[in-house]
Amino acid sequence: MYSEKVMDHFQNPRNVGEMENPSGVGTVGNAKCGDIMRMYLDIDDNGIIREAKFKTFGCGAAVATSSMATELVAGKTVQEALEVTNKAVMEALDGLPPVKVHCSLLAEQAIHAALWDYAQKNNITIEGLEPPVNDIEELEEEEIY
């Protein structure tokens, strides 16, 4: 059901954990629908993401997309990190089963939420960044149906 890459990232997730004093942190999803993702970003003075860490409550796809998302954003500028979309995460994982596409959406949202937190803390504007969606369910409905 899952690709080898998804299984690899599920079995050996990269960058699991918390971060002391992160530059930005974002939590998305809700326990009711079975997925919660928390993303921590460490961003240097030049706006480059030094490190990303995550914690996830969710299925195999949720864990694998979190792991892949942290790998994809590391080393990028905050502007570049915005381009790490759910499609990019899915492609990097060699695809996901159709019923699991919504999990990849959560990864994109988690990155955006962490970036938003960073922007708020530093009083800056990141071009193209929308405020985080609190109710992920609403968004899923639109994307899926």
């Binding site: 326990a31 079975g34 409550f57 969710g58 299925c59």
Partner: protein, 394 residues
């Protein structure tokens, strides 16, 4: 060597070699059509009749009241749709529960779209239906009560005899979905006042694709499949003789070994429950502790999600199942876990392990050891556990 421990016997079971041996001649040797006049066909007919009598005997009724179907879902559909159709002039009210299998629930929803009214009874926190609630829900226009014998997810055994007595008292037809119970625990359709009973072959080490509906003698019921005189014109289609013979063989063995299996499985089940409760924190047993199928164990592990657990168990050779949304393809977790009052976030972390007659204590020990490790690993990744630990464990 990699382990292989199959603990999903509520999903399906291994066909016993004796069952396969009993079936094989009916594929290549005695393959005649049981409806044919010649002796060759009559040999198949004889096997059919004998099988029917065996199944009837296992339920304390006559063989002629057993109608073979392609499985449990068909039997459930037949029982509900045909009763509704046959008695729609008498009334249009049906009583069932919130924890039925989808073969019953979705059929009820279909009937609701076709002019019937359905009462879905609540269950208590252990999944038990209260017979008083059944009685209170009966109306003058109630034509059918359908309550499962034992629940497929949490293993709770329902008070079928009491509900049967109530149905009998009010002259309402009583159906029970016994797919999980048949062959596992004793059933007596006479003593329990059961009018209709569904069962399936592959849950008791028999073949897939065969099941039956027991219909009380004299009960008026419409046919579900038209097109032939088979099954007393009530279920057309050339009989699946190999499947029927296999089901009868599986039932014979299940009845002969029931007492000993119940004892053995109950003891292993309780050992598994005890070890999990002692060794894994924040684990909650779902279902009734004693009024429970001998082979069923169902737990919720807080702060983690079921599908992740299943994948990690699979990696160490253990087959189980979960009621999490991610294993169902919908956003909602199991309707059974929600009906016993679990919040969504806890219901997502459920794990069902269903033992078989071959399950050993060594296997159970291995499963608990691996499960402890897996739950700890997933919790270490979970933001919910992190938050909880910060609040409560510091």
């Amino acid at each position: 060597m990699k382990q292989f421990i199959y603990l999903d016997n509520a999903a399906t079971t291994r066909v016993r070699p004796e069952v396969v041996d009993a079936m094989l001649p009916y594929f290549t040797e005695i393959y005649g059509n049981a409806s044919a006049v010649y002796d060759f066909g009559q040999k198949a007919k004889q096997a059919l009749d004998e099988s029917r009598d065996i199944i009837g005997g296992s339920l304390h009724t006559k063989g002629q009241n057993i109608y073979f179907t392609a499985g449990g879902s068909e039997a459930d559909n037949w029982a509900l749709k045909a009763t509704a159709e046959a008695y729609r002039d008498k009334g249009r009210h049906i009583i069932t529960t919130k924890i039925e299998h989808h073969a019953v629930l979705h059929t009820c929803e279909y009937l609701e779209k076709n002019g019937f009214e359905v009462t879905y009874l609540d269950v208590d926190a252990e999944g038990c239906v209260n017979p008083d609630d059944v009685e209170a829900a009966i109306r003058p226009d109630t034509i059918l009560i359908s309550v499962m014998f034992a629940n497929n997810e949490i293993g709770t055994i329902e008070p079928i005899q009491q509900i049967g007595e109530i149905a009998h008292k009010y002259n309402v037809i009583f159906h029970t979905d016994a797919v999980q119970a048949y062959g596992q625990i004793p059933i007596d359709v006479e003593q329990m006042h059961i009018d209709l009973l569904s069962a399936s072959g592959h849950k008791l080490n028999g073949p897939k694709g065969i099941g039956f509906l027991y219909i009380r003698e004299g009960l008026k019921l419409r046919s579900l499949i038209h097109g032939g005189a088979q099954e007393r014109k009530r279920r057309a289609g050339t009989e699946n003789i190999p499947g029927i013979v296999g089901l009868a063989k599986a039932a014979t063995i299940a009845m002969d070994t029931m007492e000993q299996r119940m004892e053995q499985e109950t003891s292993l089940r309780d050992y598994l429950i005890d070890r999990i409760e002692q060794e894994i924190p924040f684990a909650k047993l779902n279902g009734h502790r004693t009024k429970r199928l001998p082979n069923n164990v169902n737990f919720c592990f807080r702060f983690i999600e079921g599908e992740s657990m299943l994948i990690m168990l699979d990696m160490v050779g253990i087959c189980g199942s979960s009621g999490s949304a991610c294993t169902s393809g919908s956003l909602d977790p199991s309707h059974v876990l929600l009906a016993i009052g679990l919040p969504h976030e806890i219901a997502h972390g459920s794990l069902r392990l269903t033992l078989g007659e071959d399950t050993t204590k060594e296997q159970i020990d291995y499963v608990v050891d691996e499960l402890s490790r897996i739950v700890a690993k997933l919790r270490s990744m979970s933001p919910l556990y992190e938050d909880y630990a910060k609040k409560h464990l510091s």
